[in-house]
Symmetry: C2
């Protein structure tokens, strides 16, 4: 039996992206964003949504550039702080002792200590309501070498990203590896061939 | 030390959404989508990206309506199958013995056996390249009563959704609960107040 919760912004799992931008004076800012995700394979693109009231919104409109730094569970408290504080009141990276690194590819900084970095230029903007969605073309993905498996591929077990659960408002770690994509479902292909 | 992987569609965690649509003759179709996520709080909206080559793309253009059914780990193999097979070749829901349920709110079917359902109407379309992004306004969220906690909120521990890891191409379960949002980062607010 299902219960209707009404119109809600809820889906699972939801990522925690740390969006890096520069302000008018070249001051680096970071903001935690839960509304986002990959939205195109070729060219590779990622979408992030921010409210107009944020410092990040103005930076995005001005510079048309951003990074996404994906934190590991080691920086859960830091990432949460990046969603609580405003860059108007505090230099968030300085406050937590992390390093803004200037991207060579786009006009934005990223969090050097985080394991996965996406460097992006804005290619599409959509006014959706409270949030504005910015689609960024991904110019490069940088991953800590310690988070690459023997085949050189990023491994979730090594990255240890986490998820934020809407409505419930809790963070969750990632769990066990379950099976290969485009593989575990083949049992139904053979049954119906 | 970071390694550059080049422009890639990779972010973590990435969801597995089962997108439900009707075809020209009212035949229900479902498709697994990993490129998507919530993109606005008010009105609540979710984005999904699909390739033009898919049956779902035509259905979305025609009906301007879709559902997102979020599977639990119990249906991992089924969800993977929904990403392998095409609705042009097989009635995917019939093949796996699951039930297409007609939404009362939008012109699309959802998977009755899955724990979380989003019923959506298309409000924005963006041509991004290989993928087209459809933004759907969420008209209702329906959740299995067994997946609601004592406060009536959907709980990830009870829903048991899973994630698909790009590049690595593995599915992952969700893990332990780590802490409350907008709370665990307050340690840094007090330090800098």
């Amino acid at each position: 039996m299902k219960r209707s919760l009404g119109p809600r912004a809820a889906a699972y799992p939801t990522p925690v992206f740390i969006v890096g931008t520069y302000g008018g004076h070249g001051d680096p800012n970071v903001m935690a964003v839960a509304w986002g995700g990959i939205c195109c394979s070729e060219p590779p693109c990622v979408a992030i949504s921010v409210r107009k009231a944020t410092l990040t919104y103005g930076n995005l409109v001005e510079r048309k550039a951003f990074t996404v730094s994906i934190p590991s569970v080691d920086h859960l408290d830091v990432a949460d702080f990046f969603g609580i504080a405003s860059g108007r009141d505090v230099d968030k990276l300085a406050a937590v002792g992390l390093t803004p690194k200037r991207s060579d590819l786009t006009d934005a900084p990223y969090v050097e200590e985080f394991p996965v970095i996406l460097e992006c230029k804005v290619v599409h903007v959509a006014e959706l309501g409270l949030h504005t969605q910015f689609v960024g073309q991904i110019l490069d993905v940088k991953v800590d070498e310690a988070c690459l498996d023997v085949d050189g591929k990023p491994s979730v077990n090594l990255i240890r990203p986490f998820s934020w659960a809407p409505v419930e408002n809790h963070y969750y770690a990632m769990g066990e590896r379950l099976g290969r994509g485009f593989t575990v479902g083949k049992v139904f292909v053979s049954e119906n061939a």
